[in-house]
Symmetry: C2
Subunit: 445 residues, 2 copies
């Protein structure tokens, strides 16, 4: 009871706690004390005198499971504006005739901010407490995250107009933009972690990739890049540089433990070993890879090689939502059928990918990804008192195979309640939806 | 206005209507009149004097989409009791050491009734208005469906203790049970359609399969059977009878337009042609097939061959929920990635499989599966005013790729409102959940 020198901000009482920490504890009927954004204590037994803790707010979790907030390691959140705009098309038709033209015409600061707020609302309502983004006008994404209280790794996007002929002046502009973006957002860590996002080996020149990674290294921020998403990409990079995409990045010297490689569907054994040896992090986006028919990555092999792998939804043009519960379900099931083995990618493995795995990928594992004393209080409360979640034999199974984002009752980020009883407390949802619908009228025509 | 001779039971007003009929209409701001269980009229424009219709109940659907209720063509609904009991295990270990023993020990009339009510509650809350079931004590499933007002094809299950040595007396018992079951439930058509379900070619003897199908034919009711689910099954049947599972059933003379073959993952071209030529119906269960690593069926090829294919969830030991929205999403995405073609299994195709396709599979297409004048009023209203469903460019895409069962606001079956504003009107949910939790305590230990 020495926690009581100052009042608690929040006390969570009852239910079951799935810490997802190394010791893999499931605590029945816990008491969790939260103060100044952090988890102050976790008591195993139901203390008789709750009032001694003098909490400002008590949250009752009877019939619920309390678990770490989910971590979405890859999205382009403003692309909610392209949700359902051009589905079921061949990949290059989709990209070149629909998505890229729509982006050229409609993407601006206002659109990015409004789209980010909508996507963040969606994430807060479905259990995501940290997301990693990469897009244009990324300062507007960071701003939206800052306003809504979600933890965010905001990756400023870079592309070259012509990868074969990049002017020195263009690289200089990239570097100035990167420095300006980082200096603006670095002070907001750890709520907002600025990062730099080179779109891909096929849309960024070697000079740009090297230069941007150099800035990321100097400031110790994550460097994000799409890698080996499609077999076409592999052919293009082989033809252009004589290496596979992974070895191309290796030759450029940008593979290290602060590089997040997104997708990694087309890797051979040597490339898996290369990523593992360089401690590169991987973001796996199963639903996007399925919907775009991009391919199925060797995720079980990467996990076996000790690579940190997190889950991501990808943007809403290729998924089409931000529900990480759906992503867990798909990740578990997709690899089972591909490998003809129902015992791989079990529920616990997948749930860990969506929490601690994601935290490790983003370099935030000391702060978030599990519920432990001293960590930031990023946690969600899932209501199990529903027919599709009854009965409960195995909490992990229930969360991965039967729950959806709509079952999240309450979300707490950095010790602050951002969603309670399905109501958002930090985003004016009606206003955000009105703004998005207004802007979308133009995109539709 | 000649509809007004008697008052309407229900008038639905506003929103968008996706009829999913042959003419593929999307009607903005419709008026839908329902009387005596049937759709009486669909008006295209918003009539000024709603009061003229004198409806007993008006349902406002602004910001929503009205579509036919979803049809789950295959489940074992009492298996909600085994949800999450034994996941992530090798198939034969799962079946022989967990599911079959649990069934032997715990399945009884009370358990089946309670489990069916829970699963039906789950279905009503997630947009399913018709389901096809196969299990033991199937009269209790039919009874639960009857009480809760959901449309049901109830398949009484048959297995042989020893497929190689079946006594005449055993077959006689099967036949008596079948006749008794049919005579009890045939009068309740079309709300309850009794059917006969032989578990599979590997658990039922040729004599049993032939005899049961003969009874089904005599009464013109559906005959259900798991078929070609795994490659092991194919090997077993080849070894035992010298034919593949499909040709084995063909040789037994049981393939016709009232046979519903479930799974059909392991078919060659000749077998697809054989099913098509015999007008056999197919139930596709993508999430179950993925989770159990059973295989991926040639669904696009079957559709191209003109076979009627519906979607099913399978039982909750192998899925683990009854959400048909998840099933649609998985069906669309799985085949895209398997075929390396993002344009196949588009949203419209998948939505049709989950509605009219399912109705055709179950022989109920004159009654349900689309919203048309003269058909039974089986329809659902999905609320699109949510962040993950904003903006709306393409209603089909939104339903398949972004919506979940939790977005269904209202469900109407046979002209009766069974769920409104997420509250069940025909099932005492609290009581059902309490009963299931009580019984599950025993199963857990």
């Amino acid at each position: 009871m020495d926690h009581c020198s100052a009042p608690l901000d929040i006390l969570i009482q009852g239910g079951r706690l799935l810490t997802l920490s190394e010791d893999n504890r499931l605590i029945e009927d816990p008491l969790i004390g939260i103060r100044d954004g952090e988890i102050l204590f976790i008591e195993e037994a139901h203390a008789p005198l709750v009032s001694l803790y003098a909490p400002k707010e008590i949250i009752h979790a009877d019939g619920c499971v309390i678990l770490p907030g989910l971590i979405n390691t890859h999205t382009h959140v403003p692309m909610v504006f392209f949700r359902g705009l051009a589905d079921d098309l061949p990949l290059m038709d989709w990209l070149n005739n629909h998505i890229f033209p729509a982006e050229r015409e409609y993407v601006n600061r206002e659109m990015v901010h409004a789209g980010a707020l909508l996507g963040i609302a969606e994430m807060l309502l479905s259990g995501t407490t940290t997301f990693c983004d990469g897009y244009f006008f990324e300062s507007s994404v960071a701003q939206a995250a800052y306003e809504s209280g979600i933890r965010c790794v905001a990756g400023m996007g870079f592309l070259d107009a012509d990868v074969d002929h990049v002017a020195e002046a263009e690289i200089e502009r990239h570097l100035q933009a990167a420095e300006k973006f980082l200096s603006k957002w670095l002070p907001e860590r750890p709520m907002i972690t600025p990062a730099l996002f080179c779109h891909s080996p096929y849309t960024c020149s070697p000079q740009t990739i090297r230069a941007i990674k150099e800035v990321a290294r100097r400031h110790a921020v994550p460097f994000l890049i799409h890698l080996a998403e499609t077999s076409d990409e592999k052919k293009i990079i082989m033809n252009r540089y004589g290496h596979t995409p992974v070895h191309h990045l290796g030759a450029l010297g940008v593979l290290d433990d602060m590089t997040v490689a997104v997708h990694c569907n087309w890797l051979d054994e040597g490339e898996i070993a290369c990523l593992a040896a360089n401690h590169v992090k991987v973001s796996h986006n199963p639903q996007s890879n399925m919907k775009l028919a991009a391919g199925v990555g060797p995720i079980p092999e990467m996990l076996a090689a000790g690579i940190d792998v997190g889950l991501g939804t990808d943007g809403c043009a290729s998924n089409n939502d931000h529900d990480m519960f759906g992503e867990m379900d798909s990740a578990a099931k997709l690899h089972k059928v591909m490998k003809k083995d129902p015992s791989i990618m079990d529920a616990r493995t997948v749930l860990t990918m969506a929490t601690m795995g994601g935290a490790r990928v983003l370099g935030l594992d000391r702060l978030t990804g599990s519920i432990e004393v001293g960590k930031k209080a990023d946690l969600i409360i899932v209501d199990l008192k529903k027919p599709h979640l009854t009965p409960v034999y195995n909490v992990c199974s229930q969360l991965v195979y039967a729950a959806s984002g709509a079952d999240v009752q309450t979300s707490i980020i950095n010790g602050k309640v951002v969603m309670k009883d399905r109501r958002l407390l930090t985003v004016d949802l009606e206003e955000v939806m009105d703004t998005v619908i207004r802007i979308a009228q133009d995109i539709k025509h």
